[in-house]
């Protein structure tokens, strides 16, 4: 198995590389089109074709939105950390990072559209903004973040700005980028965290937790993209870059589990029934315990050990597996939060909450949620589109480098 030490000489940058097979593009393209078709079908029928109902009124779309927002973190933080904290080892990843960040936040914004009951009214968000709503602030920061990533990438690739000023501009951008990334994840967390109606969401820990899980999943994505580029595109990175990615991921897993654990302990010790109700469904023995296992074991302990134990540390294969598991774990954390928070209403008395459809029963005491094929298809389509954006973007960066080399 290849290890970091056995990787080729340290020549940062994105060389030409061999072509990724047409199969990759075909598969992603078909998935994206299938998602688009599912969305058109949903438009004709309404959200009734999803598994969401009045109790669990947010499902895979919002979960995926929060997940993709988190994925966008890694890139900008990587690019900014190189400048702000002088972490030289991650500098080779700066352009790739910003590209990934921009693509993720773009697709995150797109994920909101299929969740809306009236997507044709989305323009009203800009026409009639209601400034007390965390959602308005989130939309603003998502737009700002995307524009920022686009400008940053333009500067890095020399598409905009004067050559003499570019270096300085990039430095300034790095100093803006870091707080912007923290804000993006905090505001997304506050959409949930500020709500008194959902005790499971209503914790001050949520913003730090979102920032941590964003760094974690963002780094995992960058690692995966870099590993894929190494495999298919002959990307060569210095050992310390791989090692920095690996250490950052391990540290983020530890901090994430610490924060979630601290939250669990507070709820368990306090023993307030309304807070226990949601947590009990997630902890082992509850009806949603699979989320717990995915988050703590599959996406927590196992990747952590893969990244830190001397036996696996420094192996590309182990890092790839760990990155995939981390993404699974962070997605499980989003499900735990979004769906878990909605499962148990505060007024949990018979006959329950009206669920907005007549069959099988008009009421539910405990929420239930089973995503339908439409939701899976749309989410898969969006993720495939994200894959296409990143692959094409990476090739574009490669072609720029070749031009430069010729010039």
């Amino acid at each position: 198995m290849a290890t970091f030490e056995s990787s080729a000489a340290a020549t940062p940058g994105l060389p030409a590389g061999r072509r990724i097979g047409a199969g990759w593009f075909a598969a992603l393209g078909i998935l994206a089109l299938w998602g688009l078709a599912a969305w058109i079908y949903q438009l004709t029928q309404g959200l009734i074709v999803t598994g969401m109902r009045d109790e669990v009124s947010w499902g895979l779309y919002i979960t995926t939105f929060a997940f993709l927002v988190g994925l966008s973190a890694g890139g900008l933080i990587m690019a900014s950390a190189a400048e702000v904290f002088g972490v030289k080892s991650v500098r080779p990843l700066a352009r790739l990072g910003v590209l990934t960040a921009g693509a993720c936040v773009l697709v995150a914004a797109m994920t909101i559209i299929p969740d809306l009951g009236k997507p044709q009214r989305v323009w009203e968000l800009f026409r009639y903004p209601q400034w007390r709503s965390p959602m308005i602030w989130d939309i603003i920061i998502v737009v700002v973040y995307f524009v920022f990533a686009a400008v940053d990438l333009g500067l890095m690739t020399g598409r905009i700005g004067k050559v003499s000023r570019r270096r300085q501009a990039l430095r300034v951008m790095a100093y803006i980028g870091l707080p912007a990334a923290v804000l993006l994840h905090s505001i997304t967390a506050w959409i949930f965290g500020l709500q008194i109606s959902r005790p499971f969401w209503n914790t001050a820990l949520l913003a730090p937790l979102f920032v941590t899980s964003a760094i974690l999943s963002g780094t995992a994505l960058i690692a995966l993209v870099a590993l894929a580029a190494r495999r298919f595109g002959k990307l060569q990175l210095p050992d310390e870059t791989w090692s920095a990615l690996s250490r950052l991921m391990a540290a983020a897993i530890a901090i994430e589990l610490f924060l979630v654990g601290a939250d669990y302990l507070t709820i368990l010790w306090g023993n307030v029934p309304s807070e226990r109700a949601a947590l009990d469904m997630i902890l082992p023995g509850g009806s949603w315990q699979w989320v717990f296992w995915l988050e703590w074991v599959v996406g927590g302990v196992i990747p952590f050990l893969l990244l830190v134990l001397p036996r696996w540390r420094g192996r590309f294969g182990a890092m790839a597996v760990a990155s995939v598991l981390v993404l699974v774990g962070v997605y499980a954390f989003r499900i735990e939060l979004v769906v878990g928070g909605l499962l148990k209403p505060l007024l949990s008395l018979a006959p329950g909450v009206s669920i907005g459809s007549a069959s099988p029963n008009a009421f539910q005491l405990v929420g239930s949620y089973h995503p339908t094929w439409v939701e899976y298809a749309i989410v898969a389509g969006l993720l495939a589109f994200l894959g296409l954006l990143i692959t094409l973007g990476y090739r574009w960066l490669g072609s720029l480098d070749r031009e430069e080399a010729r010039a």
Partner: protein, 241 residues
Amino acid sequence: MAKRTKHWAMVIDQERCIGCWTCAVGCKVINNEPAGFWWNRILTAAPGEFGGRSDESADPASDNIDVPHGTFPQVEMAYLPVACQHCDDAPCVKVCPVDATFKRDDGTVMIDYERCIGCRYCIAACPYGVRVFNWGDADHQVDFTVGYGRDYRSDGRLVFTPDRPRGVVEKCTMCVERIDTGQQPFCVDVCPTGARIFGDLNDSSSEVSQLVKEDGATQLLPELGTDPNVYYLPVKSEGTV
């Protein structure tokens, strides 16, 4: 002379409520609510129990309606009718990104059917679970419109329509059509035991003002600070089932 603003409120006397669901059915009929939609529900609670807090009373034997709490012979039961609480500090109004859910000067909370983008943030934000969403096309048991039967606008905003647009949120309007013309909400009129009392909190001599100020009417989940305009008179007498 400026017209003095009203501050509408409702008091529900749980000692009088017999859990007959007439208010819920009346609400469903007059508002032409589609199949599966309930703006108004009658929950089975324990006396003085709010929010299903089991530390305040024994659990019911099952999760079905009309099942008393406790173990025989120490059983107790009360009914808790729940519709929109028309909060003064309404979480739904605060989270709505486009100001589609808004508060009128008279204290009622409305939804503009023409503004709502269907993001359902208000459903997540409501502590009382009283909002319902038009997931698909409205499905009615009869093929004609019942109840008000026409659109109603408040300050030009469409706050009621018998033909529900797909993809918007709806809920109790405190029968805005009726209160704007000096009538009481329909649930108040149809209640066979007179358990619902409607009136103006700005009028200190009104019955609701008296009940809130002197008879200890309480709000649902008061610790959340949402300050609802729907109040409850809990069951006080021992042994009442």
